[in-house]
Subunit: 519 residues, 2 copies
Amino acid sequence: MKVTLYDTTLRDGAQTEGISFSVTDKIRIAQKLDALGIHYIEGGWPGANPKDMEFFKKVKRAGLKNSQVVAFGSTRRAKTKTTYDSVLRALLTADTKVITIFGKSWDLHVKDVFKVPLDENLKMISDSIKYLKSKGKKVFYDAEHFFDGYVHNPEYAKQTILAAQEAGANAVILCDTNGGTGTSEIFKIVREIKEILGVPLGIHTHNDGDMAVANSLAAVQAGATHIQGTVNGIGERCGNANLISIIANLSLKLGVSCISRINLKELTEASRYVAEICNMKQLDSQPFVGNSAFAHKAGVHINAILKNSKTYEHIDPHLVGNRRRLLISELTGKSGLLQKAEELELELDKNASKTKRLLKLLQTMEHEGYHFEAAEASLELLMKRTLKKFKDFFKLEDFRVIIEKQKNQIKSEAIIKLKVGKHLQHTAALGDGPVNALDNALRKALKDFYPGLSEMHLADFKVRVLDEKAGTAAKVRVLIQSQDKTNSWWTIGVSENIIEASWQALMDSIEYKLLKDAK
Amino acid sequence: MKVTLYDTTLRDGAQTEGISFSVTDKIRIAQKLDALGIHYIEGGWPGANPKDMEFFKKVKRAGLKNSQVVAFGSTRRAKTKTTYDSVLRALLTADTKVITIFGKSWDLHVKDVFKVPLDENLKMISDSIKYLKSKGKKVFYDAEHFFDGYVHNPEYAKQTILAAQEAGANAVILCDTNGGTGTSEIFKIVREIKEILGVPLGIHTHNDGDMAVANSLAAVQAGATHIQGTVNGIGERCGNANLISIIANLSLKLGVSCISRINLKELTEASRYVAEICNMKQLDSQPFVGNSAFAHKAGVHINAILKNSKTYEHIDPHLVGNRRRLLISELTGKSGLLQKAEELELELDKNASKTKRLLKLLQTMEHEGYHFEAAEASLELLMKRTLKKFKDFFKLEDFRVIIEKQKNQIKSEAIIKLKVGKHLQHTAALGDGPVNALDNALRKALKDFYPGLSEMHLADFKVRVLDEKAGTAAKVRVLIQSQDKTNSWWTIGVSENIIEASWQALMDSIEYKLLKDAK
């Protein structure tokens, strides 16, 4: 069995609270979806937003090889001739081979929102599809609120999609627009519609009931062959169905073919890439592709995993490009620490006193607020420092940072004194804020000794108050993500002083790079 | 129909990457679950963790009225007499009326992890349950990996739960421990087991396939009456089934009674409270209870919602204690802005030039990186400032912040000059980092004029790099959450200088408080 994947990250996904794509963002996402082998990419609603029209122009030169770009819009307005309708005209201007239009299948919407007679709505659907077909387009029809409509007035809901089929739609997509329909109901309704419709059936679900993925798969099991969703399930309210989870489940669980096995290995990377462009952190717990999806913390689980990975993993993480992680935490105990040491090629004997000391140190620091799970580079440095596996690349004497604001001008300056071997470096630098000034001064002091630092930069910076009750005087945790040409890594600092915490994370980030380059 | 809710936030939830509960945290969560009317609270694994034993001691005096506390552990070890088994003894020491033990239902685990004969495993299950029953306990049996076991060796899987039933278990819980089973398979298997088992059946699912909630509901539809899950779906790897979503779906969709209608209204607050204790932000898109769950951004949606809320809401948000929000964004346009103005009781005419100016200003600022969706207090201030609905409470002349580190000592000092009316305040303060020092100096300068500030504190502080490519010189967005006795509110600042961005958010946070108090 084979199904068609239809991505709407760039249209429905763009409705997510907190997301605002630039045209460049949209092109980059389209290229990633194309590389993944998604069949259709819904690019936006031409006419509703000036950015979207620009996207349709630029995407033609984006070199897409596998995906067809789709323009999205509504049926014609009430009492308008199709030829003069501004929505339909804008759709044609987008100049795509495929167009998706949505129309109303729930009589409540026709009455309360459109305020037109039920018959006129059927004509709006029919006319619009016929018109776009007459222009040589492939037309998909999104039956908005189909499931709610079918429950309230099944006869009318059926009439709307039969009208779409008769007008020549190439597929009819049943939408659970409000996202509140249950899985068994989705299955039942799709199967009933499959009986009366000859044209390919699609499914478009939202996650308001926390069941969007299960609902999409149930629809496939009931006969749908066209599946709409967004990368990472972004979308308005609770989001759309997560296409990443759907692809993994179809391929690895239902044995339904959608993208190639080779492309399946790109799933994790694609999910993270899109999350980055959305400026959202990928959810650690995201099924299949999250950073924690195959991370094991409980001692009994780690013990079992080391004996047979099937004991606590539903699939091999490599199939979707993800990896197993064994976490160090209070709950883990020794076997996790030993496994981590092995990963890092550090010799650590189970019963040695230094193993116990290291475990104790980790537990104390975690108790103080360090979370090495989130900063594996700092964990590696700490383990190597404690086991005396490297000596410091430099030693700080002292620093001073001064920030001055006058009128609308603000200035940050860092003065730093450190030693590299016996050589004393005393220097100063400006920066955009104290951490940046420190970072600049530190690099300036080190650059003659370690030229490799120039290819590394800070990619993300997070600050978290650990104890809300203590207010601004609370302990804070700083996480820094750094990146060079080949890798990225996270480091951590904890202190009641945000600058001290940042400094710890900054130092670790640089030492990790130096250690990596020294190998 | 009525079902039993069994929460395992404090045990399985504690396995979440990044979470580490203190005993106080666990008590506070237990009290919240009790108030919500959850029937059973799994408190931890006594013996596996010293904290857990302390919890069982302290929870007795925590005044729980509705919930029964449950101790969790494994069956006896192989070849051990129950009376001498350390796990069972620790379970009894916890002194609860109810005990849950888990055992192996998948022959692979018995062979590869326990490395004991299949028969011995059946005896371990049977002996352990009989022993705990002989001590007067109510015993629940968690059949770990039941679904995987049933697929691989159905006969053996059945034997394990029949052994538990014969030994006197009060309920048998079928666990999808690896979280990879599909919804239709869960339904089918639960129905088959329901045929052969007389004791109440339970369901415990994980979210590795992105279907934990749908799977739990399918199990209920197939005959399960005991449902396990965690608040917000926290848990190892991809998490457990989200009990919050399950409760809402059972009550509002399936018509299955579990908690009272009045308690249902506490669902949103309970979810946020537990997220806070977990030190994790509640997911904005979390079904039913997330901040965005009923937030509308698309212009057509907002138009329709204003006509009839059913058009884009699957339930009334008040039923679960949540609320509708209409977002201001580039995509919304005027009708959202006008609605927001109405909410704030600001008169704003649809066609006035000041409306257009305000819309334009908001769009420009959003383009620069402000996200007013995430900082509604700053939005309110901006709208009121632009519409000249209040005058500033103070005016900054200049400030200077100095941070010095020497050896292991670090010091931050802020010097500030500002005017309240005609009165010049010039003062200085120390702090834990530059923002805290500024906050302290600012409060010091203002406290004689605005004593209400003393009851407000900073609750959360977030920094986000907006453009990773620019490295440490990138633009940053600072979000500050402030809290007083009755409310909390978010404010925002954006700048290439983290101190300037923090200062903007800090000023807004104080001005919002002063404006609120002035009402």
